[in-house]
Symmetry: C2
């Protein structure tokens, strides 16, 4: 007998038929002799509808009230899923985030977990019940409802699995697992059977958006093994856990994020603190900066290049221009339609040659590299968006990711 936490996202519970299908799947796991805790999201579309209603009333609705409003989405799902389990003869009971003891700080709409008691979940399991818990939500120490932000149901599931010392946490989604590349771009991409947390983090934070980074970080810190599975079939998924080092795989997969803008800040004064001042202005407006490169040119001027998410381009441009006005020198040039392509793998820590394989493959196909950034387990390049798909295929093939 194992204790299993299962998480179903909004598309998996979007209508009554899907809720029935989820109930059937849960009961099957119970019938095999397991104890099951289920974390569910709001039904697909519900959260968007609630946000639209709130914004129709107020352009910037209060964060506390948004949490009060959005938390009803998951509360609806837990009740309906529990009723669906009853209908097929499976004892079950629902719990809100508060009732499951998901205690958070008071940062409404982006709350952070500070304690997970699990409430009476273990007691209910001992009584033979499935416990259906509302994901995405918690409660602060004053009893006010909080939410974790979009995708927070993954975090709820991983955190509950940790608190309950579950044997495994299964994250159900609409794909079979994590692939070596996006199968829509690379038809011979393969499902990766096992990943280390760090690899999942790198893949999850770019392109392969099957899961929220925060949830993966939490799993990593607390050593919670989890499996990414498809809610529409029974195929085995991708198991994510501590680096096993059993395999000699150098590169696990290729990720691609097409919505990047390259920002070049040229003619900066070549003096200590000029670049840091630019980043200070960007940080003050909460713009995430990536792939930073700095060159010192001739004539005592420096160039600073980095990428930002495309939808933050205008905020970034404004922040940099304000900074340049203070510095009294410099110019901003934007190049949108950039894609960031990364190869990820813990194995590359101890293997040289990853960069040369990647750069050679791109060069042979005439794909120009505009920026490079590296980490211990990731190597990223920025290329023109229109070359992105070709670049992913070329790299996927160069590392033999299509082969067993």
């Amino acid at each position: 007998m194992a204790l299993i936490v299962k998480k179903f996202g909004g598309t998996s519970v979007k209508d009554l038929d899907r809720i029935r299908a989820v109930a059937t799947r849960i009961k099957a796991t119970c019938d095999e002799g397991n104890q099951v805790v289920v974390v569910v999201s709001a039904r697909g579309g519900v959260t968007n509808r609630l946000v639209a209603d709130a914004k129709a009333l107020h352009p910037h609705p209060d964060d506390r009230e948004m949490d009060m409003l959005l938390s009803i989405g998951e509360q609806e799902t837990i009740a309906l899923a529990t009723i669906a389990l009853h209908a097929i003869g499976q004892p079950a009971v629902s719990r809100t985030g508060a009732q499951a003891g998901m205690i958070t700080n008071s940062a409404h709409t982006k709350a952070r977990l500070i304690d997970i008691s699990g409430g009476d979940i273990l007691e209910q399991l001992a009584h033979g019940k499935v416990v259906i818990v509302a994901g995405f939500q918690g409660v602060n120490s004053s009893g006010h409802i909080t939410t974790f932000g979009r995708g927070g149901s993954d975090l709820s599931a991983i955190a509950l699995a940790a608190a309950l010392k579950a044997d495994v946490c299964q994250i159900y989604t609409d794909v079979d697992g994590v692939y070596t590349a996006d199968p829509r771009v690379v038809p011979n991409a393969r499902k990766i059977p096992e990943l280390a947390y760090e690899e999942m983090l790198e893949l999850a934070s770019m392109g392969s958006k099957v899961m929220q980074s925060r949830a993966v970080e939490f799993a990593n810190k607390n050593n919670v093994p989890f499996e990414v599975r498809n809610s529409y079939n029974n195929n085995p998924g991708t198991m994510v856990k501590l680096d096993t080092t059993l395999e000699d795989v150098v590169v696990r997969g290729v990720a691609c994020d097409k919505n990047q803008t390259k920002v070049v800040v040229s003619e900066l004064p070549d003096q200590p603190g000029a670049a840091s001042k630019v980043f200070q202005y960007l940080s003050d407006t909460n713009v995430n900066v990536d792939m930073i490169v700095q060159n010192v040119g001739r004539d005592g001027v420096a160039n600073l290049t980095f990428t930002v998410a495309a939808d933050e381009t205008h905020i970034a441009e404004k922040a940099v221009n304000e900074c340049l006005a203070v510095l009294g020198q410099g110019e901003v040039i934007l190049a949108d339609s950039m894609a960031k392509i990364s190869v990820v793998g813990i194995g590359m820590r101890s293997h040289s040659g990853v960069a040369s394989t990647m750069f050679t493959a791109l060069a042979e196909h005439g794909i120009n590299i505009q920026l490079i950034s590296t980490s211990e387990i990731k190597l990223s390049v920025a290329v023109d968006s229109e070359k992105a798909d070709e670049a992913v295929r070329v790299i996927h093939s160069a590392f033999d990711l299509d082969k067993e």
Copy 2:
């Protein structure tokens, strides 16, 4: 400065425009220097939709899970109404039933209030905020969400008004107040400016369904004055409070309930306990029985006649037949399409002649009385449904209710 509790039902908050209108009305009351607590229901249609979803999954969904499900309706409204107040510059904060300290027993879907702390409402009012509270819902001592049953938001408002020692409680609905008769039936019906609790109870429990009886009973017990008003205009409504005895009104109004079935149980053995056995069987199936008449006929047999709500006819018939099988004697005859018409007024306690005025008026118009029942402040007759509207007009006129 007064402390005012306002309650808005589902039609008053059914869409975003109506929620904005409610917000404007609330702010106007604040701008006059009052402190305002608002109790709201689920948006019109939401509860029905949730019930339909649950019943599509299970013919008899679990009561606890129904409370979990239905309570989201009010939670949606409190958040949206609060956001609408913010949009017009009125500080406000929302509270669920649990957060407002509405403590109930554990009778899910029909919970009874056992304590009302009000939570931190007075503190929030002192900070200049409007507090928007979810009606219809509470929490039991174990932290499980409960609901009071349909119409329970009226009870929430009256109970909060009592707990907070509010100066007045305003129940907003879609009519101007309580009328001497249904204006759709009696065009010259008049709005009643003041009513005693007991009169409101009698009127509310039949026909004039502007308010739930339980809420009126609670107001009566705790002496909470309340006003029934129209959320679509600023007309004064009907004030309901302790019997003032300032006026010399005998009859306040005429109520009509058309959905009644007359049940005649004939040939009962004329022995002690035969009738009580019939009512025991009915009570065991939760059928409400009204207008009971018992006659002892010749030959040692008794006849028992009463009315039940039309939608409980078949349950009542089944229960009575089971009883008759045990008694070994008796027969059931049903007459549906009956209407119960009542005149209500505390004044009739000390006035004779109410019955003769009523019966004479009906007789003069050839309307046959099938059953009669009386109480200190009410006189009811059962007539054929198709004669009901005419009967109401005739009685309304006989008591001069159309005159100031």
